[in-house]
Each structure stands twice: as C-alpha cells, then as structure tokens.
Symmetry: D2
C-alpha cells in the first residue's frame, strides 16, 4: 500500500523531494539545521500510516474520476474540475491527515494552503484537463503532518527542560513567533 | 442543490422521515416532548448548509463510483464495496458535517454510528452489489447534526437560567446523563 | 511528565485498570482475545504522547480550579461545578486527544461518552464538592484513543489481506458491525 | 453572556474593531468591497454562538488563572506563562470555534496564527506578568470564523451559478488562489 501511494504521487507529478521542500518551508525558521533527508524520513513515516494512505488513495481517485468524467453528478464533476472556492471536502480530507499529528500540523496546513509554496502552487495552476482539487491539499497535509512530527521530535529536549525548570527562558525556535 | 440532495437520499433509499426517527432516537430521552415534525424541520435546515450538501454529494458519488466499478484503484474499489473495518474516510466526511454543529453533534454521531438505529442498520446490511459505505455515515451525521441543533435550541431557556443563577439544580434533560 | 499524569489520575480516583476496563468494553466484541494487559500497554503509550499529557493536565487543573473556586468568572465556575449540559469544551479537549488516533477513536469516544461504563459513570455521579467535568471526558478519550490504537494494530493482518485479495469475506471483528 | 464576552475582550485589551482588522486582512483580497462594518456584523454573530462564548470564557479564565498563579500544577503554570511552543490546547480550543464555521475558517485560522496581523502580534508580545496564551488564539479563531462566514455569504451568488452552469469561468475571488 505504501509503495502504491508513492507511485500515485509520482504519477500525478509529485516527488517526495517536492514535499520535503514544503516541510523545509514550514520548519526552517524554527530549525535552521533541519536537513532535507530528515524531512524525507518524516514524510515516509507519515505515508506509512494507514489513514494517511486511505485519504491519499481516496482523494487521488476522486481527482481521476473527475478527469475521466465518470462521476454521476454533473455539479460535483464541475466543482472538482474548477476547484470551486467554496467546496471544502478536500480540506476536510486534509484535516483527516493533519489531525493525526496534532495542532502544530493543523496550523501548518492552514498556512501552507494559503502560501502554496513550490509544488502546491504548481498543482494549483490550471491544467485544462487535469484535476488536482484533492491532490494539492493532500500534499499540503502530508507536508504539514511531517512538519508537526518534526517539531515535536526536534523540540523535545528544550521542551522537556522547560516543563521541569521554572527559571529557563523560552527557546528561540518557538512555533509561535515566525517573525 | 437542496432538492437534488433530497432526491439523492430518496434514490438511495433514505427518506427524511427515516432520519427524523434517528434524531428522535438521539433526543427523546432529553426532550420527551420532541415531535417528528420538529426533527424534520431541523434536518431540512441542516440540509440547506452548503458544506453538508457537498459532503452528501461527494459521499454518494463515491458509493456510486464503487458500485459502477469506475474507481481507478482496485484496493479502494474493494475497500468501499466491503465497507472495510479500518477505512475511516467515511467518518472523516461525517465529521466534516458534525463539526459544524458542535460537540453535542459529534458525540451523538459516535453513538449512533455504533448503535445503528433504524435506517442506518438497514443501510449497513450487505446488499451484494450496493455500496452504502459513505451513505450510512452521512445519514448518521445529518441526524447527529440535527440532534445537536435541537439540543442547543430546546435547552436554551434552562441553560440561560443555569448560567446566571447559582442556586438552580441541573435540569433533568441533561445531555450528560442518558442513564 | 508521564508519571505526574498518572499521579493526577490516581489522585482524582482513576486507576489505569479502570481505563483498561473501558477499553475492553469498547473492543471486546471485535477482539474477544483482547487482554487487560494489552489494554494497559496501549493506555501507557497513549499517556506518553505530549499532547495527551497537556490535555490531561489542563482539564484536571480546570476541574481543580472550579472546586477551589479560584476561577474569575462565576458563570464558568457554576457551569463546571454543574457539568452543564450545553458546555462542550470538555468534549473539545477530549477530541484533541482522540483526533490523534483517527476516526475509530472518535466514534468510540462518542459511544463511551453516552454509555458511560464503569469509572466514567462513577466520575459522573454528583459528588457535591467535587468537579469531574473535564476528567470524565479525558478518561473516555484516553480509553477511546487506546481502543483506536488497538483496533489498527490488531486488525492489521486481516486488513492487509482484505486490501490485496478481492475474494475474501469481511472479517468477523469488523468495527462496523457491533451486534 | 454575549455582553460579558465583549467586556472580557475589552478588559484584556481587545476591541471588536481590532478583530475586524484581522477579518479584513483575511478577506480583502477575495472581497475588495468588504467593509469594516460588515466584518463587525459577522463578528457579532459569531460571538452570539454559545460554544464560542464558552470557549472564550474558558480560555480567558485559564489565562487569568495563570497570571494569578492559582493553577495547581507548576508545569502548566509555567507553560501558559511562557506560551510554550509545543503546548497545543490553545489551538484545540480555537479549532472548537473554527470547526463551527467550516473548512475556510480552519485554513484561515492556520494562516492568521502564523502571520499574526495587528492585535494578534500585539497579544503575542512578552508582557512579563500578562498571559495571553489562549486569548491570541481565541481572537484569531473569532476572526477566522467570521471570515469563513463572510466567504460563504458573499460568494453565494457566484457559487450557486457555478454549481448549475457548466460553462462559466471560476470567479476571480477564489478562496484558493491568494497569489
């Protein structure tokens, strides 16, 4: 299942490296030392989670069904091909992924969904006959989930310190002050 | 859009009256005076919300696509036809509906999803060539959302009292003690 | 932090064994072979997650603040002491825990929050000067999260089979048919 | 209850006008014609929702309890005074508000929580003895919820058109392409 998910991403024009770029975009200000390899590792772990795999599979199959015009409802067909502004099910699917990684993942997703760095804006470009309505949100969610995962792991020591000592200053790499 | 959603529900074997029965199942212990008509009214209001309509449309089209075997992925095809135990996207879609109506709607959904009263267990029966993987959760979510809506409206007076007076007892129809 | 969370639970009258009973209540129909020890193991893993620890700490401190009447707002003070029917923040906190474990955890929480098995109904009994408004939902959330975790682990093989074979029947221990 | 919530916001240094500025920040690119008065109207409607009032009340009381050092747990006391990077309950509370207004509200919240426009960065500044750990997220959530509410209302016509006609172009003010 894991390999198939990666195959689907590639087939739809997304490399794990592209997602790693998004994770770096989200985390570099807090963790300047963060490497692309560490990001890729986090992404792979996220992609091993069954609920993530199911969300990815379902979203991409919906994009494909819209492209192939096999959806029974014309309005939904049209909404998906247009990536209609007020259609929110793609975000709902994305939250199904982010929720598994906590609130840092959720806020990161909301941020990346607006800034659309790298591959995500690529996927958002109008490709007449292509539908990436779900894919761009799934990629953003995987990036945000991986960022949340890394944030918790990388900050562990400083945070554990903070929770025990009452005299220490807030660490510089706070998730709260992106400048 | 609203009329089409109702048409889809009917076409898939669900009448608003069936959903009203589920709402009564969820609320009658707290509001013995609750009528089926009041439930139908709440259901209609829920079905007028755009995000609810989109969730319903998307879920039913996924069920139909599985039935018609037009989904590109065989595993997803199989998972949906089986209503596989660990596939959670149908609940994710359902939560997209319940979240709009607050925490009472969410807990009611979790409860109804386990008890499967009336139409919901009907939809869960194995109908060889029919796929209701998303439909049963959407119906449960609409019922839970309507129940949450009613709970907030019906309890309004007693609650406002509670919030101002410090001497009054907890009202009998508490959402917390279904015994 | 982990040890302190357990200390708080004990101090408030909750043993991990009590939570294990709730997990068994939720999972025994799907996994008759499930042991209390396996449940305890899952609970301990859940309690090691930082976001779970923060939710537990915050909820219990809110209960304590209500008991000690140190909350600045009288209405909130009253709402918490009464476990008011329409106050939903305790469920919101609980969902912050369940979301980390996916949709099975969420539906299990909604179910247990209504059925209130064992310790949860204990905590819901009126103890004049005690406030368990947040604690009962946190205990339910930890049980539901542990159940979701177990469901994913225990069903792994059968599910992997299901996803690859197109000829196999749905396993008996499906999360979808609790009767 | 509504008046008290506004009183609390003012007492903590937040005017509804400050929140309106945040809503404009979120929506002006999609709705250049949006007025501050329309934003204030949406904010007032959001603040009339019981679950929003409860979240606001609970969050501000937690901030106050931390300031007054009446929380039983020293670690939580410290985490709240520091607005610790990995403490996510303030976002969980915020999502309890945003969820009521759908996915546009959720993504807007994630975005505003990172950009911290106007009052939100004000609240985030270190005021030695002040604790705004929950308040800044509640303000962001109210702004995001109001933005989501406006987005659905303002786009209604164009969207209804889109859903019925298959020949019309995507409207310029799409929530998806903020450039």
């Amino acid at each position: 299942m894991y390999d198939k998910c990666i195959a689907y991403l590639n087939q739809r024009g997304v490399q794990l490296e592209d997602i790693a770029e998004c994770v770096l975009f989200l985390q570099k200000e807090y963790h300047p030392q963060l490497t692309k390899e560490k990001c890729l590792q986090a992404i792979r772990e996220v992609l091993h989670k069954r609920e993530v795999q199911h969300a990815l599979l379902t979203g991409i199959c919906l994009d494909l069904a819209a492209e192939e015009q096999v959806l029974d409802d014309d309005d939904l067909q049209y909404i998906l091909m247009q990536d209609s502004a007020l259609y929110g099910l793609d975000e709902v699917l994305a939250y199904g992924i982010c929720n598994l990684y906590g609130s840092i993942a959720l806020t990161n997703y909301g941020y990346i969904d607006k800034c659309k760095p790298g591959i995500i804006s690529e996927l958002n470009k109008d490709h007449k006959d292509t539908c990436n309505t779900f894919l761009d949100d799934i990629v953003g969610a995987i990036a945000a989930a991986s960022a949340g995962k890394l944030a918790h792991n990388l900050d562990q020591p400083s945070t554990r310190k903070k929770e025990t000592s009452l005299h220490q200053q807030d660490e510089p790499n706070s998730q709260r002050t992106p400048t």
